[in-house]
């Protein structure tokens, strides 16, 4: 293994434009994948919930919902799987410097994730293929591994990301990782808060997105019991998780304060290390200052240490070359937290009217907001990942490998980015379009579904 250094030598440094292109390509494909990944984790839960109710009560509406949602999962899984495949290519196409040096350190969580995908894909195939071919209870059971494996895959892949934020389990000698202990790398201190926060986010996002579809339908006058259930089941799941997520987010913030103080300082746009650090909301970053922000005096010190005297580390502790782009990280952080509280208010609104008189709020504004709640949750997820990933800059492996050393030194990455971005744009349009078709169609549409004899009214 002595030849590793020479093996990892690069053709030359990447041009700054290519580095930006690679980062943007990664952001587009991850930002796309994460939406489908959230649905891939959360939808099976909804599907199993309504199928279980259908079996228990014999209720036809629940059964129809289960059918419709299973179809949607089939199509979404197809899109999720291919977008995930692109990601695993891109880890090497864009970041060979990372994978060549540290591929062996973070390989195991990805391999474990691969096992989870296998399980998920195979059981999803069985589940979709056997709707009317297995006894109902057995059929329900074939869906359980889909849910478990989806959640497990989110856990494993986020372990890999947590390692990039809190690298451990190896010794660096001459730029090469040695004495690798893969399990210690996988179970690092950033795992608890990141995985928990991500998995809760996935269920929340799914709940609000699916509920939003039915809320939009109700605004157009489709107010059968079927539509009401289609709204209430996912919305309730998401609404119950929202306060939980805010607590988990607080936990994440505290962990980041100890593990990556620079990231927290960027998220809060705190330039000066200080006691009685204020909590700043909004504002404009200019140079080394934050202007026009709404400040809660000593708020940050209170949140982080429970006392106004807690000293919070600011950006002044690291040289400017080691700071992440503060404006982006701060804006993204505010967007995520803002989205979280907005969703909390919306959830509380329904909670109150339901408690008072067992019904939806009468104001059309409730449904209008509910219709876009999914988009708000997606915004929170994207913003959260921006905090995590951009907040780690200029490092890809925190403290060890800079992003400019991780990137592929080959020329013309720009062209690749443009092509990939175009393909994803087209893909987005078609995915939304096909999902719309599913809403109105009772035919088999998921690729794994068997063709049945066409029913009445279907050409």
């Amino acid at each position: 293994m002595g030849a590793w250094q020479s093996v990892l030598s690069a053709a030359g440094p990447a041009s700054p434009a290519d580095l930006i292109a690679a980062r943007m390509q990664m952001a587009v494909s991850l930002g796309w994948h994460i939406v489908l990944a959230c649905l891939g984790v959360g939808m099976p839960a909804l599907m199993l919930l309504v199928e279980w109710r259908a079996i228990r009560t014999g209720d036809a509406d629940y059964r129809r919902l289960a059918h419709q949602w299973a179809k949607a999962i089939g199509v979404l899984f197809a899109a999720g799987a291919v977008s995930g495949t692109v990601l695993s290519f891109e880890m090497g196409l864009l970041w060979p410097g990372l994978m060549g040096a540290y591929g062996q350190v973070i390989g195991v969580p990805f391999a474990t994730e691969g096992v989870a995908f296998f399980v998920e894909a195979v059981f999803l195939g069985i589940y979709l293929y056997t709707w009317d071919r297995l006894p109902p209870r057995v059929h329900l059971l074939t869906g359980v591994p889909v849910l478990l494996a989806g959640t497990a895959s989110a856990f494993f892949v986020v372990c890999a990301n947590a390692w990039m934020n809190r690298p451990q389990g190896f010794v660096l000698s001459g730029g090469v990782a040695r004495q690798v202990s893969p399990w210690r790398a996988m179970f690092n201190p950033a795992v608890p808060h990141e995985t928990l926060h991500m998995i809760v986010a996935a269920f929340m996002t799914t709940g609000f997105l699916v509920a939003g579809v039915y809320a939009a339908g109700m605004l157009r006058g489709r107010r059968d019991r079927y539509d009401l259930l289609g709204f209430l089941v996912p919305f309730t799941m998401a609404a119950l998780l929202t306060p939980v997520q805010i607590l988990v987010g607080d936990f994440a913030g505290r962990s980041v304060a100890t593990l990556q103080p620079t990231k927290l300082a960027a998220a809060e746009a705190l330039f000066r290390t200080q006691a009685r650090a204020p909590l700043s909301i909004g504002g404009l970053v200019s140079g080394d200052r934050l202007r026009y922000a709404l400040e809660i005096p000593a708020g940050l010190s209170l949140l982080m240490g429970g006392s106004p005297d807690t000293v919070v580390q600011g950006l002044d502790r690291v040289p400017p070359a080691d700071r992440p782009p503060v404006a982006i990280v701060h804006l993204a952080f505010d967007a995520m937290v803002g989205a979280g509280f907005l969703l909390l208010l919306l959830s509380a609104w329904l909670g109150v009217t339901w408690w008072r008189r067992r019904g939806l709020p009468r104001s059309p504004w409730f449904l209008r907001l509910a219709a876009v709640s999914g988009a708000v949750a997606v915004l929170a997820v994207e913003a959260g990942w921006t905090v995590t990933e951009v907040g780690r800059q200029p490092w890809t492996v925190y403290g060890h490998l800079r992003t400019s050393d991780a990137v592929n030194p080959a020329p013309a990455l720009w062209t690749g980015f443009v092509v990939v971005a175009l393909v994803y744009a087209v893909l987005t349009v078609f995915t939304l379009y096909v999902l719309r078709l599913i809403r109105w169609s009772e035919r088999p549409v998921a690729p794994q579904e068997p063709d049945r004899a066409p029913g009445p009214g279907v050409s």
Binding site: S88, L124, G125, F430
Partner: protein, 337 residues
């Protein structure tokens, strides 16, 4: 066998499965493209769709499995290959996206023009992806991917006689595999007419493959001498075996013995797939990077093998069940002609 060899074998087994299963999927797309106009090709397209519908997803994970194993167990090889060959690999990745989604969307589409559009995307990307993956194999085998980040020529590494040859061969082999599978499936589903249509074309593909492979040996001799000498010496038994299986499957197909023909075709592909690494063993990247120097540390290799072993226990039984379900329904339902 040391740990690195064990991982190498498992990885190659995964790649072989990918070639056999996904190769047939790609080939299905190729036949979809050649199935004729919308109306006449309807029955053929339906058969292709029922044949690959329920398992296409599961086939696909094999590639991810191989990629993840490569970067975990042989990180430097992964980094060198991906960085030098990023153009064909980006194209292959985009082909996978277009194919997977278009296939799913076509089923959901209601209008003829939509089905045509998604169908075309599906078919075109079915050609693009195996071709690009084939050029990648050719680039590695002919020693055009030196160790290091983007050390090779990002164009000439995959636009050269050996790469183009292996790209074309990969595409044709996919088509042949799919043709042989589809004859079998059509017969089982009770559509001898469809089976006939695929039989004639699969036979033509087989003859073409034979011709290209023979001509290809001449190309390899001048363009990739080390590979050529490996194939004609150490790996010769496998090369011969693949020729024998190829001819056998051709004859079996000709005599309408579809199931044995299908098995012989698969064995032929397996022989080629294992001939290549045997020809260049112990080198992973020419001229001098051997597998043991490229391998990750033993702790990583061991952990990887443990994960794979545990994973197989979890995955294999349901996978067998899935295949059984698919076979059964293909027989029960039949496919509308």
């Amino acid at each position: 066998m040391d740990l690195a060899q064990a991982v190498l074998v498992v990885m190659w087994a995964g790649l072989t499965l990918y070639a056999l299963l996904a190769g047939a999927d790609f080939g299905g797309g190729v036949w979809d493209l050649l199935s004729g106009r919308s109306r006449t090709g309807m029955g053929r397209r339906r058969l292709i769709e029922t044949s690959i519908g329920p398992v296409w997803e599961a086939n696909h994970v094999w590639l991810i499995f191989v990629i993840v194993l490569l970067w975990t167990a042989f990180p430097a090889v992964f980094a060198s290959v991906m960085s030098t060959l990023y153009i064909p690999l980006t194209l292959a990745a985009l082909g996978i996206v277009a194919r997977g989604t278009a296939f799913a969307f076509r089923k959901a589409a209601t209008e003829l023009w939509q089905q045509r559009l998604f169908g075309a995307a599906f078919a075109v990307s079915s050609v693009l992806t195996p071709f690009c993956l084939g050029t990648v194999a050719g680039a590695i085998a002919s020693g055009r991917v030196p160790p290091g980040l983007a050390r090779g020529d990002i164009l000439a590494a995959w636009l050269n006689p050996t790469s183009l040859l292996s790209g074309v061969l990969a595409l044709m082999v996919c088509a042949y595999l799919a043709g042989a599978y589809l004859c079998d499936d059509a017969t089982r589903a009770g559509h001898p007419g469809l089976a006939e249509w695929f039989r004639v074309r699969a036979l033509a593909a087989a003859l073409a493959i034979g011709a290209v492979a023979l001509g290809g040996m001449v190309v390899l001799r001048s363009d990739a001498p080390p590979l050529f000498s490996g194939l004609t010496h150490r790996a010769l038994p496998l090369v011969v075996a693949s020729a024998v299986f190829g001819v056998a499957s051709l004859l079996l197909l000709y005599r309408r013995a579809y199931l044995p023909g299908r098995i012989a075709a698969m064995l032929g592909v397996v022989a080629v797939m294992w001939g290549w690494p045997l020809a260049q063993y112990p080198l992973m990247l020419l001229p001098s990077l051997t597998y043991d120097r490229a391998a990750a540390e033993p702790a990583v290799l061991a952990a990887t093998l443990v994960v794979i072993a545990a994973g197989s226990l979890l995955v294999v039984p349901p996978m067998v069940w899935l295949f059984a379900v698919q076979r059964r329904s293909l027989r029960d339902a039949g496919t509308p002609e």
